[in-house]
Amino acid sequence: MLRYLSDYKRESVLAPLFKMLEATFDLFVPLVMADIVNVGIAAHDFHYILVRCGILLLLAIVGLACSLTAQYFSAKAAVGYSTGLRHALFEHIQTLSFSEMDTMGTSTLITRMTSDVNQVQSGLNLFLRLFLRSPFVVFGAMIMAFTVNFRAALIFVVAIPLLSVVVFGVMVITRPLYKSVQTRLDRVLGLTRENLTGVRVVRAFDKEKSEVDRFEDANELLTKIQLHVGHISALMNPLTYVIINLAIVALLYVGSIEISIGGMASGDVIALVNYMNQILVELVKLANLIVQVSKALACAGRVQAVLDTKPGMEFPAELTGNVPAEKADDAVRFDHVSLTYKGAGAPSLSDINFTAKRGQTIGVIGGTGSGKSSLISLIPRFYDATEGSVEIMGRPVRQYPRADLRGKVAVVMQKAQLFGGTIRSNLLWGSQNASDADLWAALETAQAAEFVKAKPLGLDEPVEQGGRNLSGGQKQRLTIARALVGKPDILILDDSASALDYATDAALRKALAALPGDLTVFIVSQRAASLQHADQIIVLDDGRMVGLGRHAELLESCPVYKEIYESQFKKGDAQK
């Protein structure tokens, strides 16, 4: 994942370096001050004092310049990195097949793209700024102490590990605890949401009291762990404070001895105390840095996992193989096809066999979860059949390059999904270079021309993200038109007419039948009425094909079909 940083090599090296420079200048300050005390004040030399203070000012200015440069470079590298990472992630997600997307889930992918990448960005930014600076100041201070006085510097050698143990110890102990704080907070959140969305059920079952008890238990658990973590974290400041002051006391003691034998001046003691104070600040920063960076690393790991997910499907670059003569008329053929989704216990489709000839209309019917959508999603190769083979136009689907296949097969999905833009920009998804006449023809067939004409801007009417400004039926018809614009050989309507009223549904079917050429149409529906005129109807039950034939035949031969039909048309006649 580091390769997205390669464009910002210069920045990622310069940022920490400049930070280090700044730290170096900071480290000189106590020494200069010691000189002022030891030399300037001792010798009553005003000029010396003035010059030294000038140096202090200069150090401050140069330090500021270095630090601003570093901040700029690190911001640039971090932002650039995350921009590249987001691009790569987005590009990668687009190559994933449906099966990987189902496993990961859209909301996960969206979180990866947004908040996880942002976390990585701020982690990287902080890292570039601090990972050299903080240790450098800590050890720099110690080294500076050695230049002042060897014996006094030994105090630093003892104090630094002690401080580190406290700072990092507290951190190591509390980190997992903070995780359980989060878990318990999530539980409180979940219960709150649940009680709000389910208020009617809660009250209908007279569960108000028990819900409050449940909530208070969860809340008490949260408070307990919050207090527990709080008490542990509360130890850090007092402990480090005591250690630092013990170290200062030791410095004073050693200093007093050294001064009395002439090994050190009082200005040196001031400088050493100053260094000691700097160390604490930087250690706390370092501990924070580690927390932030490890959070960012966790996010980076999750992003990496997405990037590592290999697309589960490969498409050949070119169309290969020949079409046997006996299959020239076939549009879609399923040969003993079974499909088991990744991670699912049972197959969603088992042993499906049928052949759809070019120009035919095929109905697919069955209850919820009977496998209707699974069946049609094998045709454009959204998923690969786990057994058997699916053939399009006489060739196995696996022989088609992705673009070829998806150009031949157009799917109108159950959920009408439009994208922000205009009606035109949405329709052009079907084919980038379709003319206005093509668009209107498609709209005409999809029974959408009328309402598009009625819009003030016609084809250029804006469509909000997700098509929120259109009604369900309008969206549905536009998605049908979008599919038609690409002039596919096979059109699949996956329960797409559910938002249409019966009359429009019928008109749509009539218009589709009247289209020139031999368009093969698959209609998935729960309404038997929509399929009555199909050339073949596939009846699915629990993933198995329990009937195949025309309406009239199925009414005779297929009990499941008969049951479905009767559940919808008991109009006036005797019930079973």
């Binding site: 004040i41 202090l56 921009t83 687009q94 907070l185 649940e194 008490h231 009395s260 001031i270």
Partner: protein
């Protein structure tokens, strides 16, 4: 940087909110007093140590001129003071934690209790996300911000005053140097804050735009791939991504200038103190030890300033959050139960007498509705969306109270009986398939938590849910996620039906109870419903007219009025609104 723009409170509101906050803190008054005392002790001790150090340094004048006994005495003093300061610091955190977490716990519990008694009109008109954020995020911000902010402010002010006092005592001119230059850091910080705020604002706008695009494209990823639109959507993404890069860089850079800039001011103060201090030291106005005290203070003095500037906005923000929490706690409750409310013994006789109802005072919905429902009758309610079907159910369950007229069950006005006994008399299945995060079994047994497994299974079988439950990875012990993501809408509805099947109260309400279930399963469930409804007064709201044909009375509603009433055949024969609705469903069949 919290760029969250919370609505600011007027001074009166702030005062009122503050009063209530104090009430909430009152039970923990002991800890508050402790916290203030230890804060003062800790500040004093922390300021005293540099002075001790200074005196020690003054005892080490040079070679052979060191007062060892004096230094040793001071060393002991420093150790004692440091330990006292550390202990005070620790106590301070402990007290603050106690107050903060206890107050937020109390507020959350109060809010949850409130939710259980809130009127449904409040809950229906407020998005649940808003209430959740009041209960969780606002309570947190309030507790953290107000209590932590308060102690920070308190110790900050004490530190500044203490430092000033100590410094003034030692030397006035050097103090002036510190006092004059330090505010510069505030000026610089606020300048930078304004600049970066602007960029953060535009960053969040562009980020929002990008998130929307990502949402749209990833949610529509299957469509994107089905149409081979990958390249174009990447292009659109890159455009926003590029803009985000530009504005993020500016925002991050400007905000990251604050620390170096304040450090710079700090360094100038340090140099200034060094200069003036050294001059005075040469002149003999102060000792080296005193100079060291000044240098130490100069380093510390800017810190509380920077903190306090942040604390003020945090406090305002916290008060605004507190006000939002109190607003929830003050929201209108449902009408309290009558004092002598009886327990309802339902016989299935429901009388609706001249009922009128409106959600909004200026928009009448149900007017003069009267109905007399005999025990065991089946009432179906049909009509277009928004005609008031669900409203009638709200009234029957007494989720809302009627504005005029009355509803009686077993001859008693439902306002004179306990809500629990009224609601317990109805089994309710709603279109909104609410399940709780928990196992399948827990969900089915929601109304009867101690039901043995075989009863649960029997209920599931009756609801035709048993077969799909068995296919779930853990069967009846499968945990349903909070969003119910692991089972389909139709399956959820089956579980809701099973939940009612288990309790089987004497009356039933089915509001679009089978809307997400395919027609074939529905027919089977209808059979189960039919058994269930035997001898039970039931109210059925449905979209699919085939499901309501067997009702004893069909109420056809339109715009809150009952426009037609009768059984299926009568209504069809009338050729009115119902006949129109019914026939529209079968248009296309006869073509």
């Amino acid at each position: 940087m919290s760029a969250k723009a919370k609505s600011k409170l007027t001074p009166e509101q702030q005062k009122a909110t503050m009063t209530r906050v104090l009430q909430k803190i009152k039970p923990y008054g002991f800890f508050v007093v402790c916290s203030l005392i230890v804060a003062a002790v800790s500040v004093a001790a922390q300021l005293y140590i540099p002075i001790l150090c200074g005196s020690a340094i003054d005892m080490m004048l040079g070679k052979g001129a060191v007062d060892h006994a004096g230094v040793l005495r001071i060393i002991y003093e420093i150790i004692v003071v440091a330990v006292v300061a550390a202990f005070a610091q620790w106590l301070l955190s402990v007290c603050n934690n106690r107050i903060t977490f206890a107050v937020s716990r109390d507020l959350r519990n109060a809010a949850m209790r409130k939710i259980q008694t809130l009127s449904l009109s409040y809950l229906d008109s407020h998005p649940s996300g808003d209430i959740v954020s009041r209960m969780v995020a606002d309570v947190d911000t309030f507790a953290d911000g107000l209590l932590m902010g308060f102690t920070q402010l308190f110790s900050g002010v004490l530190t500044i005053l203490g430092t000033l006092l100590f410094m003034l005592q030692q030397n006035v001119p050097i103090t002036l140097v510190v006092v004059c230059i330090t505010p510069l850091s505030l000026v610089v910080a606020s300048f930078l804050a304004k600049r970066s705020y602007k960029y953060f604002q535009s960053q969040s706008t562009v980020r929002g735009e990008q998130t929307a695009l990502v949402n749209e494209m990833i949610e529509g990823q299957k469509v994107v791939q089905a149409f081979g639109h990958e390249a174009q959507s990447l292009e659109a993404f890159d455009e926003v991504n590029g803009r985000l890069q530009n504005v993020s860089l500016k925002a991050i850079f400007f905000s990251s200038m604050t620390n170096p800039a304040t450090r710079f001011v700090n360094n100038i103060v340090y140099a200034g103190v060094g200069l003036v201090g050294a001059i005075y030291a040469v002149a003999g106005g102060i000792t080296i030890g005193q100079l060291s005290i000044f240098l130490n203070y100069a380093n510390q003095y800017t810190k509380p300033f920077n903190e306090i500037s942040g604390v003020v906005t945090e406090l305002q923000n916290a008060l605004a959050c507190a006000a939002r929490v109190f607003e929830l706690l003050d929201a209108e409750d449902q009408t309290p139960e009558a004092e002598n409310a009886a327990k309802l013994v339902p016989d299935g006789h429901v009388q609706i007498e001249d009922v009128s109802f409106r959600y909004l005072p200026d928009r009448p919905l149900i007017e003069g509705l009267s109905l007399d429902i005999k025990p065991g009758q089946r009432i179906a309610i049909v009509g277009p969306t928004g005609c008031g079907k669900t409203t009638l159910i709200n009234l029957l369950m007494r989720f809302y109270d009627v504005n005029g007229g009355s509803i009686k069950v077993s001859g008693t006005d439902i306002r004179d009986v306990t809500r629990a006994s009224l609601r317990g008399s109805y089994g309710m299945v709603l279109q909104d398939t609410w399940l709780r995060a928990g196992t399948v079994r827990e969900n089915i047994a929601y109304g009867k938590p101690d039901a043995p497994l075989d009863e649960v299974v029997a209920a599931a079988k009756a609801a035709h849910a048993d077969s799909f439950i068995r296919r779930l990875p853990e069967g009846y012990d499968t945990v349903i996620a909070e969003d119910g993501g692991n089972i389909s809408q139709g399956q959820k509805q089956l579980l809701c039906i099973a939940r009612v099947m288990l309790c089987l109260p004497p009356m039933l309400i089915l509001d679009e109870a089978t809307s997400s279930i395919d027609t074939r399963t529905e027919v089977r469930i209808q059979a189960a419903f039919a058994r269930m409804m035997q001898g039970r007064t039931s109210f059925i709201v449905a979209h699919r007219l085939s499901t309501i044909r067997e009702a004893d009375v069909i109420l056809v509603m339109k715009d809150g009025h009952i426009v037609e009433q009768g059984d299926h055949d009568t209504l069809l024969a009338q050729g009115g609104f119902y006949a129109k609705l019914y026939n529209s469903q079968f248009e296309g069949v006869e073509t």
